[in-house]
Symmetry: C2
Subunit: 704 residues, 2 copies
């Protein structure tokens, strides 16, 4: 760890630059206060949210620290406040911590990502490897460790992360700059207008800040955070921003949300303002129109009218803009955020919560352009979907955002890591045929963004279960867990969930305030629950549960109170909007929050998913049966339902392969040659955990 004196020398060195000294000095006292003092005691320059002081120590800060955010209706609880106990998510988080994080560490090592840093301080002779954004892989991995440590110390993991952080910090240059790619011969390219579009320098910085903040919140150790602040305060702020400073844009959005989160920690309004400046675009850097769409930068955020371009970039920009709104309440941002959310959730999101229809540019397609087999649906984009909706939920308490968050989390994010914890999806298609030769889960990608992104998301998951508000507590996710926290008035509060969700719908919630007190318990009724949710408190029914809302239960709560909830967890065939051509005449099966799929391996031998002669029987009378299989794919509920296989009606052919086109034969003729089969559906997240096999989410409907 660098000592303060060394750090101050760096600052002095940076300030000695005549070209930037006047700019730097104009904010110098605030900057130095932020660096030198107790971060949380820095004066906030906007009104603090009432009663927020008790959230002010590092170990009380959540995934986002919204305690003082004036436009946050909901406030995060720290990751450590929630313990996920044995159940659905514990299996996934345990696999992340026990398997994914250590094996990914070794892969980052063996692929030279750590040596990129060591080389710069003379500890390695290995050449630079990996693309411009490779530093961010290390940062996201370390952030995942940090979130793990927020749930309790793990000395070995802690030491590994600490050593990596020491290494990272050791390569920081005297002027605050820290990046392993734009050094040496490439230093001249740093922060040029072109590099700002393609070089990912600010993207890497953003991930470093997020990692550093998570590590600080885990340990109280500021060594990495201080390095991040130095790069912002010493390198970035003095030189980049509105004229006469140099122009600044974010070719891959990420810096915006990290700067706002830094502001939440430092109270230094320059951090918020720079985020806002970047979101506003900088006309001095000309971004060509197509790049403007792809990069999701260039155009002022508030001038965008649809979700488009590179899906991860778009999600990160929207997350940053939502963060900016949470601090500023800027109505233009709020309007645009809603327009873009409607564009996404209403026309450009897969039923798995996956985003990005096109491999080309890893990008959104046109409205309703949601092909299944060629879906890109990058794991990082689904994670971005969670991040964005978490912020919109904080701003509003509106359960429609939780519904989307949950859809992405349980399906399009959750599919991103194998049950073993060692293999990852980069893309998450909704139909798959292995005969094309593509391996869908791999231990490593040359662009290895998704695996550590999944890890940090899973490690931080306890922080997403609850929020507080001025009048009570919101519960967002249901799984075996305990909350040990307090209401915003300071009253201690423990909440325990006992449930087998999402496999069945009963949840018993024990509410135990430190002393009896009035507050509202906001119970999320998921959008998939329809009209079937039953709620009782201490055995007495509570009415008003409406799907897609939070049911407010206001009462004088006392220790021993129990909320009994029964959600209708039943298989539900979904249709897509008829504009979605690829889903036409097809259904997707959802059961609770889980989207299901067919994998070839589970079907009878006469069923061929790659042949469209198969359909699921949807006529009245056909029913699903659910089967609990604890020994299968980590323990799941499989679904069975009758399907129909129609004899292949391949056009007649004069020998050779079956003809590609031939006279149409009517349905009646085919239906004479159909037979019933039993189809078996598994949760989408569990696919591709056995040998390669065809898969489909949207299954044709048999209408005969």
């Amino acid at each position: 760890m660098l000592k303060d004196i060394t750090r101050r020398q760096f600052v002095a060195s940076a300030l000695s630059s005549a070209a930037i000294s006047s700019l730097a000095l104009s904010n110098g006292s605030a900057a130095n206060a932020a660096i030198a003092g107790d971060l949380t005691s820095s004066p906030r320059q906007d009104a603090a949210a009432p009663g927020a002081d008790q959230f002010s120590s590092w170990h009380d800060q959540g995934v986002l620290n919204l305690a003082k955010s004036p436009y946050a209706k909901l406030h995060s609880v720290p990751v450590r406040a929630v313990t996920i106990e044995t159940g659905f998510w514990s299996a996934r988080r345990d696999a992340t911590v026990a398997q994914s994080i250590p094996t990914m560490h070794d892969l980052l090592e063996s692929h030279g990502r750590m040596d990129n840093f060591r080389r710069l301080v003379g500890k390695s002779n290995a050449p630079q490897v990996g693309a411009v954004y490779s530093d961010s892989d290390v940062y996201k991995w370390t952030e995942a460790v940090a979130f793990t440590l927020q749930s309790g110390d793990r000395p070995e993991l802690h030491k590994t992360a600490s050593d990596i952080i020491d290494l990272v910090v050791s390569v920081q240059q005297p002027n605050g700059y820290l990046n392993t790619y734009f050094v040496g011969d490439r230093a001249a390219l740093s922060m040029t207008p072109e590099t700002q579009q393609s070089g990912h320098e600010l993207y890497c910085l953003g991930h470093m800040l997020q990692g550093a903040i998570a590590y600080y919140r885990a340990t109280g150790d500021r060594k990495w955070l201080d390095a991040g602040i130095r790069m912002v305060n010493d390198f970035l702020l003095p030189s980049y921003g509105p004229a006469p400073k140099l122009p600044i844009i974010a070719g891959h959005p990420e810096i915006e949300m990290s700067l706002v989160e830094l502001y939440r920690l430092t109270g230094d309004k320059r951090h918020l303002d720079l985020a806002g400046y970047i979101l506003g675009g900088d006309a001095r850097i000309h971004v060509p129109p197509q790049a403007n769409i792809y990069l999701f930068c260039g155009t002022p955020f508030t001038e965008r009218t649809q979700i488009e371009g590179h899906a991860v970039r778009a999600m990160y920009a929207c997350s940053g803009a939502a963060d900016y709104y949470l601090e500023t309440g800027d109505p233009a941002y709020w309007k645009t955020l809603n327009v873009l959310w409607n564009s996404m959730a209403g026309s450009k999101m897969y039923v798995t919560g996956g985003l990005g229809a096109r491999a080309q540019g890893e990008s959104f397609g046109a409205a309703y352009d949601l092909p299944n087999a060629s879906a890109y649906a990058e794991t990082c984009a689904a994670i971005g979907n969670v991040m964005w909706n978490w912020r919109l939920l904080a701003a509003t308490g509106d359960a429609k955002f939780t519904d989307v968050l949950e859809r992405a989390l349980y399906n399009g994010v959750n599919s991103g890591m194998s049950l073993s914890g060692t293999l990852y999806c980069y893309t998450n298609p909704l139909a798959f045929d292995p005969s094309a030769g593509i391996t869908i889960r791999n231990p490593w990608y040359s662009t290895d963004c998704c695996p550590p992104n999944f890890e940090r998301t899973m490690a931080s998951l306890p922080g997403y279960f609850y929020s507080t508000a001025s009048d009570g507590l919101y519960v967002h996710l249901y799984d075996n867990s305990t909350l040990d926290w307090h209401l915003e008035d300071g009253t201690g509060l423990k909440v325990t969930q006992k449930t087998n969700m999402p496999w069945d719908g009963d949840v018993e919630i024990t509410v135990a305030p430190a002393q009896p007190t009035d507050f509202t318990f906001y119970l999320r009724i998921p959008g998939w629950a329809g009209d079937g949710t039953r709620v009782a408190v201490n055995g007495k029914p509570v009415t008003g549960a409406m799907a897609g809302t939070y049911l407010p239960i206001h009462r004088h709560w006392a220790s021993g109170d129990v909320i009994q909830v029964r959600f209708p967890i039943t298989p539900q065939p979904l249709s897509a909007n008829p504009h979605v051509a690829d889903d036409e005449g097809r259904v997707a099966i959802q059961r609770g929050p889980l989207v299901y799929c067919l994998e070839q391996l589970d079907q009878p031998t006469d069923v061929d998913l790659t042949d469209n002669s198969l359909a699921v029987r949807m006529k009245p009378g056909a029913e699903f049966t659910s089967e609990v299989r604890e020994d299968f794919l980590g323990g799941i509920v499989v679904l069975h339902r009758d399907g129909v296989v129609t004899e292949s009606h391949s056009p007649a052919s004069k020998g050779g392969p079956a003809a590609l086109y031939g006279p149409y034969q009517d349905q009646e003729a085919n239906s004479r040659n159909s037979h019933t089969v039993q189809l078996t559906f598994i949760p989408y997240y569990a696919w591709a955990n056995r040998e390669p096999s065809p898969m489909e989410v949207w299954t044709p409907v048999a209408k005969v």
Copy 2:
């Protein structure tokens, strides 16, 4: 025009290079004979086909000169031998000659494609513009003019082409090299292993040779042809080929077929051998595996097992390989050609004859991966499909190749130029929604390969109507036309077609040999004709017409003999192989050789093609009606049939936009809210000739 003395000086200059002189001299006498003498009197080094001598003068050579090709069963007739009279194809060829060719000339000028040549001889100061393959645009345009001139001189067009050829030839370097891109600073890149993969030098040479040969066959003028031979004989042959020469591959196949055609003209076996060498791959240039697929080069042609990669490259390579087979009879080539053809025609071809499912890499997808809206189906690839099948047809006389040729020609090629003759499709999707903002027909593309490729195909079209064989005449295409040619025994023969094909199925064919003689008239019965074809000679029925074959009519033909044919031109709904997911539950309508489509503009106001609530009614009793509309889209037959519009079953939504996903509603519920509409189909080739409008070829089938 360069004088012979100048040309010989070039040759001498090339031969003076010590490094290559021994190689050059070893074949020098043959080469010089080919250059200096009557080309057609050069001794052929393989057995000449019997009775081929009368085809030997330049004006008697067809699109391909197969007169002496030992493995050609069919032989081309010259373009000039067939006159297309007023009817279906005359309208398209007239638009090509009157509109497309002159306007494309001006666009090639205004986009600097001619100045690229002028600059090199000091006649322009304009910088080089366009990609590495830009020379080929000029060559294909000039080839289109040459084929036009084969049908009769047009002095103004002739002069324009002649001037361009003079310009082209004037930039040829003393060593024979001719390319406007790899000159000056870029000369060092010429023919490096990397440039051979990506630089298109041999691709441009191939197009120059094809253009030069067409111009020679139109005019007897050898000025361009001699330049092409110089580049082959002086630049290429001495230095590139098997060790110890330098390695050679074709990163964009094209040179192979042009070298074989050059061999057919020169009789210089080195030209054939070099084509074979390139087709065999050159292991000394390492082509990475993915590039090997994309480029369709690297792997020996005879080791390929499926059609894949860049569709145009694949078609050109297959055409070259077919040409090589026609000369050599190599059974390994024949086997591979059939494997690849089955792969294409059986699983990777659109119903329009279009090829290339994917925009990424302009490439084939996996087997049965034939998406409609995102179909790439480049016009050039459909043209390549025609070229390849023309060669396979020549090798066999098998009508299955003509069926594919016709499918591509009438649909996927024909759609490539607007009715006006001034706008072009680069991609030819089978479904389209203009709301994505894509303009489907444009006057110019920065990669302007398709427009002049369409022009040269259309200009050469008369050459595709007939072939001769040792025992008679084959008719491939039906349209108003006259053939004025002779049988292979030299007997003069005129054949006249009077028909309204493809709008109705009656064809009256007058057969008039110069004197009564025995031969077989091979009458093509198209694959689409089913069992319904009726044939008579002089009013007397001829039996045995079988769809997808040539009906041999052997008799003692005499002037005044008439063949009356009635093809069953009726609308036919086609199904696709059930493995084609995008066509599942849908039909495409074909009538004769024409594939039809729905354009939004022609439908009732309550029909929305972008909404899947529309289906064509296929239950028994629903019938097509055909309507002749001479004033509409250049004169077409439109088709009408009942369709069904189902009330949109968009998932319910709580305000805001319609929900993207919602509970499935069964078909019976929807069918209560459906109503009948009259759908109007137009030929696919005629789409996108009005304001932008949604279109679809494959229409859902209403089963209720």
